[in-house]
């Protein structure tokens, strides 16, 4: 018995010392500070033999993160945990921050493209063939090589009838899909039925395309019906193919998901040991070891989390109305509020349905003088002061002024003209235009009558947003102005999804929608009527379906669509921008087609005082250019002593 006791106590002692030893073994034994080429937690795993050395994990020619922005301080130490929140279980705000690993990237200032997973790319002479040269030695987060096989596999899926997702619109020219060839592991060739100059932009645009075409074949095969007879459909395949949700699916993101709990309410990420981007000194990124992000759908709880100093750095998810509160809490919460640009051109834009269902109203709307009168009837200064507390600027409805189409002096001059076009509040001028149209007869209530003798009545759809009340305030201001023009205006708040359904099906007369777009080549629909949206739902339907449904374009809309077709065929980038400017000219001279209210709100950012390398200024608005991911947030670092 005594012996047993002795052995037991010995064992206990051994266990205790074992534990103690574990605790003593600190990561400080590994290279630290700026001389470390990789994070100590990874270096430790390398010495344990669990991971190949960093030289073998990085590509031959790694991508070097750009630092040419205001707010970049210095290369940082490895380590730390980044606390933040997301607003939706699909982690949209996170993907826009660090879920962007495209073949070709948008530059941070959105002035053009730069290499990503592809080192270089070139078109053949007529733009019908695009060749991409992939970076050699890039690896998925499980160490498997990333090659041209990935894209080929993706495109195979696109063409597979059983897989529900068809080929994306940019794969097709005149309705004919492209062909994908992979001469070797690092060369990717796309052959189109005709010139398709915009494809590099599509490959770079949004986090949604790159997360579709970067698909790990070696992992996903096991859920593919052709490779695994256990499955007869793609339901399980699709369920496993979610990089933001499935910790086992290899990824190319700087941080990979390690925990996705309770439907995304708690998500943890850890550094991807095979990440292909390095800093200026050749040290592997990211600097920060872990990310903890939690789902906070309630806006007031987000505010509290920030005020309490629980957030290290947060892009998106803050409302402008809370700005004063955030500023007041800066000191106590140990953070700083930064204001980037939303680049919004109308918050919201007042949409006038070019294809309004009521024929008499449609005839009026197609008359430029009528639309101009409506524009003169909006008190934009009041919209700004009342709905936005004077933080925005009153102007006509435009796309984003920072867009690359308007980069030079001529472009800015044109844009300023667009912003000012019919943007004054002038009831007399509006009334004069309506009188000039012959709409002089009025009923006993003082409202103008249509040519057919009925009162002009317009229904304006106003969103019932529980997020903010700006649209409602602006709706009332617009109504007030138009009533002074003798036009009966009624506000209507459609329940549920009816608002967007009325918009896409073209059932509305007047509606609202926030407007911002940086790149009109890939998302042209604010200026060119290419999709069933905004101010041109039925003409857009016609263009989208190749003339099968909807209504054919006439007059200025026809010319706008012709210009967009020319953009798609044009090899010269400068000339493509010129076509956009020509289209804007049509909007100025023959518009307005949709009306402005207030615009250019700041976009808020919260950065803790111990969090470094966050740009001081940038664009945080339209999704297509994927900010802040293009600023390489993987080079942010945390001063752990001050945390």
């Amino acid at each position: 018995m005594k012996r047993v006791k002795q052995i037991l106590s010995m064992l206990c002692l051994l266990l205790l010392t074992g534990c103690a030893e574990n605790r003593v073994e600190e990561l400080t034994d590994y290279p630290n500070g700026l001389e470390a080429k990789e994070a100590p937690i990874l270096a430790k795993r390398v010495t344990e033999g669990k991971l190949p050395p960093v030289e073998q994990r990085l590509p031959q020619n790694p991508l070097v993160a750009k630092t040419d922005f205001d707010g970049y301080e210095a290369p940082g130490p490895y380590g730390g945990t980044w606390h933040r929140f997301h607003t939706h279980p699909e982690l949209g705000t996170w993907k826009m921050t660090a879920g962007y690993a495209p073949l070709i990237r948008w530059k941070f200032d959105a002035s053009g493209l730069e290499p990503g997973l592809a080192e270089s790319w070139e078109f053949n002479e007529d733009g019908s063939m695009l060749t991409l040269h992939l970076r050699k030695g890039v690896k998925w987060s499980d160490g498997h090589p990333y090659t041209s096989e990935s894209f080929a596999f993706y495109y195979e899926l696109c063409q597979d009838e059983r897989h529900k997702y068809g080929a994306p619109v940019w794969c097709k020219v005149d309705g004919k899909p492209m062909a994908v060839e992979t001469p070797d592991d690092y060369t990717l060739v796309m052959k189109f039925a005709g010139p398709n100059w915009l494809v590099p932009l599509w490959l770079a645009t949004g986090f949604w395309w790159c997360n579709q075409y970067n698909i790990p074949k070696h992992y996903m095969n096991q859920f593919h019906p052709d490779y695994n007879p256990e499955y007869t459909d793609f339901i399980e395949f699709e369920r496993q193919d979610r990089p933001y949700q499935n910790p086992r699916r290899p990824t190319l993101w700087p941080w990979r998901i390690t925990k996705y709990e309770k439907g995304g309410f708690r998500v943890q990420l850890e550094r991807n040991p095979y990440y292909y981007v390095v800093d200026e000194l050749g040290r592997q990124l990211p600097y920060i070891d872990r990310v903890k992000t939690s789902l906070v759908p309630e806006p007031q709880v987000r505010v509290l989390k920030i005020l309490a100093g629980e957030i290290d750095c947060q892009y998106r998810g803050m409302e402008l109305r809370d700005l004063a509160l955030y500023l007041k809490g800066e000191k106590k919460g140990g953070y700083q509020v930064r204001q980037w640009k939303s680049t919004a051109g109308a918050q919201p834009a007042i949409l006038i349905n070019w294809t309004a269902p009521e024929p008499a109203l449609r005839a009026l709307i197609r008359e430029q003088r009528f639309r101009k009168a409506l524009a003169y009837g909006i008190d934009r200064v009041k919209c700004n002061e009342i709905a936005w507390r004077g933080l925005l600027q009153p102007q006509a409805a435009t796309v984003s002024q920072e867009g690359w189409h308007f980069a030079d002096a001529d472009g800015q001059k044109l844009f300023e003209e667009w912003k000012r076009a019919d943007a004054d509040f002038d009831i007399d001028k509006g009334n004069a235009l309506l009188d000039d149209m012959g709409l002089t007869r009025r009923d006993k209530d003082g409202y103008r009558l249509r040519p057919d003798g009925k009162r002009i009545e317009m229904l304006m759809d106003v969103p019932s947003s529980n997020l903010n009340s700006q649209e409602n305030d602006i709706g009332l201001i617009v109504q007030e102005g138009w009533e002074q023009l003798g036009l009966r205006t009624m506000l209507y708040t459609p329940p549920g999804a009816e608002l967007s359904l009325r918009r896409t099906l073209g059932k509305f007369t007047i509606s609202m929608h926030g407007e911002a777009e940086m790149d009109l080549f890939t998302y042209p629909d604010w200026v060119f009527p290419t999709l069933p949206k905004y101010w041109h739902p039925k003409v857009g339907k016609w263009y989208e379906t190749g003339g099968e449904k909807g209504e054919p374009p006439t007059g200025p809309l026809k010319r706008l669509l012709d210009l967009y077709d020319a953009i798609k065929r044009e090899p010269d980038e400068k000339q493509r921008h010129q076509y956009v400017r020509d289209a804007v000219r049509i909007h100025i001279d023959e518009g307005p087609f949709h009306l402005g209210s207030a615009a250019r709100s700041p976009a808020l950012l919260v950065v803790a005082n111990h969090f470094h390398n966050v740009p001081n200024d940038g664009i945080l608005g339209p999704w297509a250019i994927v900010t802040p991911a293009t600023s390489y947030p993987e080079q942010c670092w945390i001063d752990e002593e001050k945390q």
Binding site: H83, T87, H88, P89, E90, G92, K164, Y165, P168, G206, F207, W208, W209, Q212, I235, E238, R239, R242, Q245, K259, E261, K262, G263, G264, F265, R266, Q268, K292, S294, V296, P297, E298, Q300, V301, L304, K305, L307, A308, E310, R316, K332, A344, P463, S465, L467, P494, P495, G496, A497, E498, S500, L501, H513, G514, E515, A516, Y523, P622, W623, A624
Partner: protein, 328 residues
């Protein structure tokens, strides 16, 4: 008693079926489906829905093209076998999302129920035995304030004061450190530290009104002849009130128990939304707004089930306390 419980149990089945059909229809009454809502949400929140590609394919994948009755039978068929379907918004099986939320909802609801009764009964007794005393007036005043303040307003004010004065952010059920950590004594302590606020906030209205009821009942009973007899016998006042009068006066409070369950459950939903608690309330609201039909339907069924069981327990408790109740 046994047959009574059995009969009530059997009766619950058609009740729940009827609830499931009605709620499933009502959830889907608004125009458009989940994907239309999702497009609108993206547009409202971010001004753009271009991240949602291939809408029609998703619609087919979720079976949103099928007629309503077909969707109902698919869902109900799975439901009885324990497969509640998939949530569109969370892209997870519904059962993964709901169980610990239901548990937290139960903890908060039962906690407030206990708090309500434990606080209301002694206060009511005190108030009745000190009728028209200054302390009775004070308690009466408090109870009227408590009854007229909506719970969410109490929660909001608490949040503002706690932050302004003490600098404590009041939200959630765990502090950031324990959030997501495995269960431990420390985490349990942390939970209790956070739990009392929602428990009291949810219970405030109920406590105030129960106190008034208890006071009124006891006053009624105290005026009855048997109380005078007891006093005449020379029993101590504490026995007269505690053993004889309260025993009778408490019966209505137990029959109210069944009725106060729904108000506590819905009260906790609103308070949870304000305080950001991980209960059923916030995801139920979101799923209804988003027409996330299987999640919303399942949550409504679970809440209904809780109510049916709660009512049954209340009835049994009443029968147990009051021997005059018959089972026919």
């Amino acid at each position: 008693m046994g047959t009574y419980i059995l009969r009530r149990g059997l009766l619950a089945i058609p009740t729940l079926l009827a609830i499931s059909i009605i709620s499933f229809i009502i959830i889907q009454l608004p125009q458009g489906d989940y994907l239309d809502r999702e497009i609108q949400r993206l547009e409202e929140e971010f001004g753009d829905s271009s991240s949602l590609t291939q809408v029609e394919e998703l619609r087919e994948r979720y079976g949103l093209n099928e007629p309503l009755w077909k969707r109902y039978f698919i869902w109900m068929g799975g439901f009885v076998r324990g497969n509640f379907g998939e949530s569109f918004e969370y892209k997870r099986e519904v059962h993964e999302l709901i169980w610990d939320r239901i548990a937290f909802t139960l903890i908060i609801s039962i906690g407030s129920l206990v708090f309500t009764y434990v606080a209301a009964i002694p206060l009511g007794i005190y108030s009745a035995t000190h009728q028209y005393n200054w302390s009775d007036h004070f308690l009466t005043f408090l109870s009227f304030v408590g009854m007229s303040l909506p719970a969410f307003l109490v929660a909001l004010s608490l949040m503002v004061f706690a932050f302004d004065i003490f600098g404590i952010p009041l939200f959630g059920l765990f502090s950031a450190y324990y959030e997501g950590a495995p269960w431990s004594w420390g985490k349990l302590g942390d939970l209790i530290k956070h739990l009392w606020i929602p428990v009291i906030v949810v219970g405030v209205n109920g406590t105030a009104s129960l106190m008034r009821i208890m006071r009124g009942n006891l006053l009624d009973v105290l005026g009855q002849p048997f109380v005078q007899t007891a006093r005449a016998k020379g029993l101590r006042e504490i026995i007269v009130v505690g053993k004889h009068a309260v025993r009778i006066a408490i019966n209505p409070l137990i029959s109210i128990l069944g009725m106060s369950l729904p108000s506590i459950l819905s009260g906790s939903a609103i308070v949870s939304i304000v305080l950001g608690l991980p209960t059923v309330g916030p995801i139920l609201l979101r799923s209804l707004l988003n027409e996330d039909i299987y999640l919303a339907g399942t949550l409504l069924m679970m809440l209904s089930l809780l109510l049916v069981i709660g009512n049954l327990l209340a009835d049994i408790a009443l029968a147990w306390v009051d021997p005059r109740i018959r089972y026919e």
